[in-house]
């Protein structure tokens, strides 16, 4: 699953650590999310979307 977390984070001028702190996860988790190595749970996906004031569909994209 692809996502635009890196793009949104960089547009917001945030570091991975700052975003991780805001989401209540580790920096490694944010890094894994951005690199597509880890697919978040639904609560985390909602938290990401809420943080960037958008929707899950706008951030996460199905690879198929």
């Amino acid at each position: 699953m692809r996502n635009d977390i890196r793009l949104l984070r960089e547009e917001a001028g945030l570091s991975q650590a700052a975003l991780a702190e805001a989401l209540g996860v580790s920096r490694q988790t944010v890094n894994s999310l951005e690199n597509g190595r880890y697919d978040p749970s639904l609560p985390l996906a909602f938290a990401v979307a809420r943080y960037f004031r958008t929707t899950i569909e706008e951030i996460f994209h199905d690879d198929v």
Binding site: A17, L23, G24, V25, S26, R27, Q28, T29, S32, R37, Y38, P40, S41, P43, L44, A47, R50
Partner: protein
């Protein structure tokens, strides 16, 4: 648990209580096996239990000294600050431990049947399972 809540670490008091409970459990296991006339199993349980407890104390001490972000997911698990990815990795690592345990115990049983010392076999199995847990956690952390 929601991911938006700030993560709070496991307090020292709770960690000490957990370690104390673990030691009591190990002690009970040792006593039960000893009373049941199984000194080798009792010794194995004692060595294994103390090894795991000591490992937990060392990792927590390192994590507290350096900070959880430096040591990575394993220390966050022990500090009680694990996030969902850490828990996913831990679950997968424990699944590997369970899988390897089947083979390790079969080999251990065969070794005892062939005359190997039960104390050594049980200690070796504990060491192998701990190594599998740590190795699987590190490997999965890099891939996940």
């Amino acid at each position: 648990m929601t991911t938006s809540e700030p993560r709070r670490g496991l307090s020292d008091r709770r960690f000490l209580v957990a370690v104390g409970c673990g030691l009591v459990a190990v002690g009970i296991m040792w006593l039960v096996f000893t009373l049941a006339g199984e000194p080798d199993t009792a010794a194995g349980a004692l060595v294994g239990g103390l090894a795991v407890t000591a490992l937990a104390i060392v990792v927590r001490w390192r994590a507290k000294r350096r900070g959880p972000s430096v040591d990575g997911g394993f220390s966050r698990v022990l500090l009680g600050t694990a996030d969902e990815r850490d828990n996913t990795i831990l679950t997968a690592s424990l699944a590997w431990v369970g899988l390897v345990a089947f083979g390790a115990h079969a080999i251990g049983l065969a070794a005892v049947a062939l005359g190997a010392d039960g104390f050594v076999v049980i200690g070796a199995i504990e060491a192998v399972l701990i190594a599998v847990l740590v190795g699987a956690f590190i490997l999965l952390s890099r891939r996940t």
